[in-house]
């Protein structure tokens, strides 16, 4: 099995979103970065499949030079190598991102599986995996919380609010997954050390005109209210029960 996993570098936002003065991005001066959560599960799943069946896991990202950190994270939990489609740091829209991924896939083919997160934590466009599948003429199933490779097919399950829809696709296929698919392992120290010497290819991503053109970001209204303090410690319990009764839940 050869599996490509596509990930995105996103800031660890913590408790409050603060924007840069030009309102074009989140202020990240004091923030760390991570792999967007759904994609962490995609990497873990790819590594498990290859551990069981043999093969290769290639991790790919489109982003600034610093996104090497996220590719090394993928390699630390078992990806064999990385491809960085390097940008100048400005976010690409979904069409440009998908086009760059398609070029990279064509240069690296063949893959049996192409795994994506269902949507990124930050832009949440819900479309890169589907665009890549369409351009490559591959079947795609999205929003998966379970997948099982069975010979030359993959069986997939998707949560539909109290029930599960079952799909099947022939390989090669594009799948987009959700957090909860698995519990990603924590990278071990030897894993981190090995990751440092695994191969990383850096490819310059060609500039692209946005078609979904970000004008500015806004923090929604209604943030920064103050909770009514009902009391301190266990002595607050009677007041809490009064409030629960007033709300009709007790």
């Amino acid at each position: 099995m050869r599996i490509l996993v596509c990930v995105k570098r996103v800031p660890l936002t913590g408790g409050r979103m603060v924007l840069t003065p030009d309102a074009q991005s989140i202020e990240t001066k004091h923030l760390g970065f991570t792999i967007s959560p759904h994609e962490e599960c995609a990497v873990e799943e790819a590594v498990r499949i290859v551990e069981a069946a043999g093969g290769e896991v290639v991790a790919l990202t489109l982003g600034p030079a610093e996104a090497e950190e996220q590719l090394r994270d993928c390699m630390a939990i078992g990806a064999d190598r990385g491809i960085l489609l390097q940008t100048d740091g400005r976010d690409r829209d979904a069409q440009a991102t998908a086009a760059a991924v398609v070029d990279a896939v064509r240069a690296e083919e063949p893959f049996d599986l192409l795994l994506f997160g269902n949507e990124s934590a930050d832009a949440a466009g819900y479309q890169v995996g589907i665009r890549v599948a369409t351009a490559l003429g591959l079947p795609v199933v999205t929003g998966l919380k379970k997948l099982e490779v069975q010979g030359d097919r993959v069986r997939c399950e998707r949560d539909v609010g109290g029930a599960r829809d079952v799909y099947e696709a022939p390989l090669p296929a594009v799948l987009t997954v959700l957090e909860g698919l698995n519990l990603p392992r924590y990278p071990s120290v030897p894993g981190r050390l090995r990751a440092k010497s695994k191969p990383l290819a850096i490819v310059e991503a060609a500039p692209a005109e946005p078609r979904l053109e970000q004008l500015r970001l806004l923090v929604p209204e209604g943030q920064g209210k103050r909770a009514e303090i009902l009391g301190e410690g266990p002595e607050a319990a009677p007041r809490v029960v009064e409030v629960l009764r007033a709300l009709g839940v007790a």
Binding site: G14, G15, R16, M17, I26, P37, D93, A98, E119, A121, A123, A124, G125, Y126, Q127, I130, R131, A133, T134, P139, G143, E157, V160, G161, G162, A163, R164, D165, Y167, E168, A169, L178, E179, G180, L183, P210, R211, L212, L215, R216, L217, L218, P220, G224, K225, R226, A227, E228, I229, L230, G233, P234, A236, P238, V240, V241, R245, L247, V249, A250
Partner: protein
Amino acid sequence: MNVLCFVDPGDELSLQALGFARGLGDVRAVAFDGPYQPAAWAKALAAEPADAVVAAGSDRGNELLAHVAARLDRPFAANVTAIEGETVTRLRWGGSLLEEARLHGSPLILSVAPHAHPAAEPGAVETLNAPDDGSPRVLERIEDSGFGVSLREAKVVVGGGRGVGSAAGFAVLEELADLLGGAVGCSRVVTSAGWRPHTDQVGQTGTKISADLYVACGISGATQHVAGAKGARKILAVNNDPEAPILAVADYAVIGDLHEVVPAISDELRKARA
């Protein structure tokens, strides 16, 4: 403007999307028969003439429009809350941030963010034909779900975060949830630590709750978590840190150690009922 709007029969979010679409122009509401087959349905949608293609910002709505946009090689704006000309306002970060963006080219392809617009009367819905093209489709529906429906529909959710300290620490939250006829939830930190299953996770990448009351215990209030909790009508935070960000989104708070406060609330409830 001629607007094509996909309607998923029986889906409340579709009726909201329909209401939004009617604000754009003349709407043709369409649906499909037979098992869900996104690529084939999108092929049929993309073949219809339209100045705008609209659907709900639901799993299916976003998926179908992504297929339509990919097929037509046009941009697609997911989870739009407002539109003026070609400029949309849309959700990023599960709604913790908004983006104003310009959609270039025609047709405009956009999904409508949940609860951004009141639901409309369905009116006439035309059924389009989408021949099976061999692309993946729903083969079977398994009715029992391991994926945590109780949390989504619970009237009260008692959630725990890092402050709970261990898997065993959730016993006091279970007790309070039982007394209130509610469900237990948790933050992403808790799931990652393996203290609770992912089905219990409230958040941007977990379950989005719509409870009458959410009791957030030992939860700092990361945007990841708040994105799933803010659908609750009221939020009560129990936290030992009066500076915790959760207090800026909660309606009520008790400052103190959840391991003391939560059992005291349970005791008081039992006393009040005796």
